[in-house]
Symmetry: C2
Subunit: 195 residues, 2 copies
């Protein structure tokens, strides 16, 4: 296993709330953390609701970031963002050179996602991204509390270590928890709920 | 001295960058921290550039916050925000019931501020807020590194303890450092510089 440092630089992304099936753009916030403790920086961009631009937009904002050289991992909360704008984690990995960790609080229901995707253009393309994201693993964070993850560019044991060291304050890694707080406050005026 | 807990809830505000002397609104971000460690929530509002609405807007967003009951201190980076929109710290204290701590990296040059204010309407009103904010104290954070502060509703020793316990990561209290990162990323796409 590669050496995973306690202060490993992680960027975690989350989107703002929006009205499902509406048109237009939704803000996406990236939060750069050193491990689970120190907030180093913030990225902001916009993607199209139910669009196909999430992967390219994230690649661009990551590669242009002043934190790029320090970054070691990209974290996502699921591989859909801005509705059904699907993130291709292989492309994200290849075009940034950074491993990707996808975290879910619940086991994603792929059949439900598949049905929803059938209402959108580019069904094949979107569904392929989801199938290609690979096996979903379960990990116990606390007693009776599991999270689910997928990954690209790391070993499973490395991913588990990164998730554990970044969940300093809750059952969700800090970069994702804080990205959620910021992204929701932008639209609602105040952050809400859990990450 | 009152008991200042290590996890005292602080909300710190900062504004986004904008073009000086332009018209319109500027975003203001509030960050709720427990002491200097745990980011609890985010507030977002807008104020008028060089306007007179900062005090009322902050009072409203603080009083309406879900964190209000837990909050113990308001932190500001200077008493001007959105250009020369001056915060009346007495009103802020009285109408929220929360003490106010104003932190500056440099000793504010009151004569420069006074000259600039003369170009704006309501000069008397604005200047009064600045004079009423009271004495500016110096505090050593590290060797050769000072910050300057004013306050309302606390004892000087309490303010010093709050500043010390919240400067966990830099020479600026965490709520203000992170508010700056978020507020600047909103406009620039990525956070920049120091808080």
């Amino acid at each position: 296993m590669r050496n995973i440092k306690k202060e490993i630089r992680i960027v975690g992304f989350d989107d703002s709330p929006f009205i499902p099936r509406s048109k237009g753009k939704v803000p996406v916030i990236g939060v750069v953390f050193r491990g689970g403790n120190f907030l180093d920086g913030i990225l902001k961009t916009d993607i199209s609701i139910d669009g196909m631009d999430a992967t390219d937009t994230l690649i661009k904002i990551i590669n242009e970031s002043r934190h790029k050289k320090q970054l070691r991992v990209i974290m996502l909360k699921g591989i859909t963002i801005g509705g059904f704008n699907i993130i291709n984690i292989h492309q994200l990995y290849e075009k940034t050179g950074l491993p990707v960790v996808v975290v879910n609080r619940k086991m994603p229901n792929l059949e439900d996602i598949k049905s929803a995707l059938k209402n959108l253009d580019d069904f094949e393309n979107r569904w392929e991204c989801i199938e290609d994201a690979g096996k979903i693993y379960k990990m116990k964070i606390e007693k009776n509390k599991n999270i689910y993850f997928q990954f690209k560019g790391l070993k499973k044991e490395e991913v588990e270590r990164i998730i554990k060291l970044s969940c300093t304050r809750s059952l969700i890694p800090e970069p994702l928890r804080v990205a959620h707080l910021i992204a929701s406050a932008l639209i609602k005026g105040e952050s809400e709920g859990r990450a």
